[in-house]
């Protein structure tokens, strides 16, 4: 398990991270979401030891993450970077050796990952000669080349075409199934919802919400009702006592119950407005949870 506890970091007067705590277990994937400048990259750089925390701890398997353990992390920085004039296979082999593999294993890993990511015929090309999408694939291979138990990926999906997104999603699911702990940041919330059991939402340097995605959605579900009413006057939903209408796609409207309001009271009020055709508990999407967390 990777765990950050009460991590704080300032840059001058700016508090980049304020008492951040989160954890990722082996075999699970944490989606790390938040607006630009919220502190995602700083958090990841602190995990990698590229930036020091002012306070708080980072532990892996209950021990402080030391230099040796950090070298074993598979890392894809937000600012992509490879040696532009080095050949693809040479570069991947060298990076694998840098992470501790011997020469044969490193070469085999470079072969395996270039094959897997559809770069087999580009092995001898210099990286700068590849398209941006293919460079991104090499970057991904670079973070996976040493079969890391912990993957820290900053915006791994950005810049990929749909095929690339699918390939990456498949690889990440595979690595998680093999027992790796994965943390990645993304602005593509549908993708995070599909890919991750866990999510942490950060804004302004603070973790606003974190936990299992399904639990977070279920926790809000009891308080929201989707109703379809025939024959009600316009704007009736804004006049229901004990509930407020929230923005929502789809048929009908969604009412969020105020604290202390009984479900039945609201249903009675809806019935009074017209004939009730549909009633269901509404589970908010991750995007809705996100908007709520970020706005709060």
């Amino acid at each position: 398990m990777l765990a950050l506890a009460n991590v704080t970091r300032r840059f001058g007067d700016l508090v980049a991270l304020d008492d951040v705590s989160l954890s990722v277990a082996q075999g699970s994937t944490l989606g790390f979401v938040g607006p630009n400048g919220a502190g995602k990259t700083t958090t990841m750089r602190i995990i990698l030891g590229l930036v020091e925390a002012d306070a708080g701890t980072v532990t892996w398997q209950d021990a402080p993450l030391n230099e040796a353990a950090r070298r074993a992390i598979g890392y894809m920085p937000e600012e992509r970077g490879l040696y532009p004039r080095m050949r693809v296979a040479d570069q991947l082999t060298w990076l694998a050796r840098l992470h501790g593999a011997d020469r044969q294993d490193a070469a085999a890993a470079a072969d395996r990952w270039t094959e897997r990511l559809g770069l087999a015929d580009r092995r001898g090309d210099e990286v700068e000669k590849l398209s941006l999408g293919n460079q991104q694939r090499v970057q991904l291979a670079a973070s996976l080349i040493h079969d890391p138990e912990l993957l820290v990926l900053d915006e791994p999906f950005s810049g990929l075409d749909p095929t690339g997104v699918d390939a990456l999603a498949e690889v990440l699911a595979e690595r998680a199934a093999a027992g790796a702990a994965i943390i990645f940041s993304s602005h593509q919330l549908e993708l995070v919802e599909r890919q991750c059991e866990h999510v942490a939402i950060i804004a302004g340097g603070r973790i606003q919400t974190s936990g299992r995605v399904d639990e977070l959605r279920a926790a809000r579900a009891g308080r929201r009702l989707r109703v379809v009413v025939d024959g009600a006057p316009d704007g009736w939903q804004n006049r229901v006592d004990g509930a407020t209408a929230v923005d929502s796609n789809g048929e009908g409207c969604v009412l969020e119950l105020a604290d202390g309001t009984d479900e039945d009271t609201v249903i009675d009020a809806v019935r009074a407005a017209g004939s009730l055709r549909h009633l269901s508990q509404e589970r908010p999407t991750l995007a809705e949870l996100y908007r709520e967390a970020v706005a709060g």
């Binding site: 070298r71 992390i73 040696y83 060298w94 670079a142």
Partner: protein, 394 residues
Amino acid sequence: MTGRRAVGLVAEREIRERLRTKAFRISTAIMCVLVVGAAVAGGVIGNGSTKTIKVGTVGADAGRVGDGMRAAGPALDRKVRSVRQPDAAAARRAVDDGDVDLAIVPGSGSRPRLLTGTDTDSLTQSLAQQAFRADAQRQALARAGVPSAERRAIIAPRALQVTEVGDSDRDTRRGIAFVGALLLYLAILTYGLTVASGVVEEKSSRVVEVLQAAVAPRHLLLGKVVGLGLVGLAQLALFVALGVGAGIASGAFDAPGVAVGAAAITALWFLLGYLLYSCAYATAGAISARQEDLQSTTAPLTILLVVAYLVSTGTASSPDSTLSVVASFLPPFAPIIMPARAILGAAAWWEVVVSAVLTLLTAALLLRVADLAYRGASLKVRGRTGLRAALGRS
């Protein structure tokens, strides 16, 4: 992974990638040709001191003077050929056209006239005068009835014994010190700039963040310095070996032993100077965001090297001047000045040791500065980082 393995891997990459580039191979090949060419040319020119002189003569008297010049020529490094001319006018034309270097024609009374070209040197002229005087004396003695055996004994050329006082290798040493300083200046500058641009390349291509996730910044820095330094040393060794080998083979060096010793001194000081300057250049690279910034961030270092080289040109002729002696102990200048003094035999062994230790200590200090700058600045890829900011906490 151990630090040594990390440094080794980084160095290995630097060496491999450098050797792979076409520009490196081509420039090395061109330099090899230049070095061998210069050494061979030096040998040919150095050995070409025996000049061939053609002297035109008109009449029997002049002919005897010409023969006298031919006999006395070799002692003065002159090989003389005597060519008979039909008359004075033809001889004058021959000198004017450059067919002969000078001509002896009948003059007023018993004194023949010497016609010289515009570029006839004084040694050749005095050879002609000497031959004429010897012939005149021989004729006078014959008229006085002195028997021919005695005439020969009186006229026979006498020469003083010559002993050269001072270091007979001095010219060789001066030449080597001069070339050595030039090579050191070029090699340290070239490889210093290569280190700086390598550091910037890692920043501007942003691979540095991937690397620092896997290797400690100090190992990354050290590996780069070691790798490029080995390439530089190998290249310099190749040039020096080719130059010294070709020079000895072509006879350019009067003292091959001096040349070999000088090559060793040059290699040692390349290592020291490169170590010192590569750390400084790495710092310059770390505080630059793009290759374009390098010109301004490396300028102070390049100026120091140019000054060191300029001082070294004076050192070659006066290695004991106050400027040379002081500069040979100051770390920024020592790597170029001290080897020149050492090659010239002007520095005692302890002076070389003290200067080398000072240079090494400064290099060690600069390595720490470079490490801090590298760590502090390498993740700040946007815009130039002030040196002060780079040395601050990451």
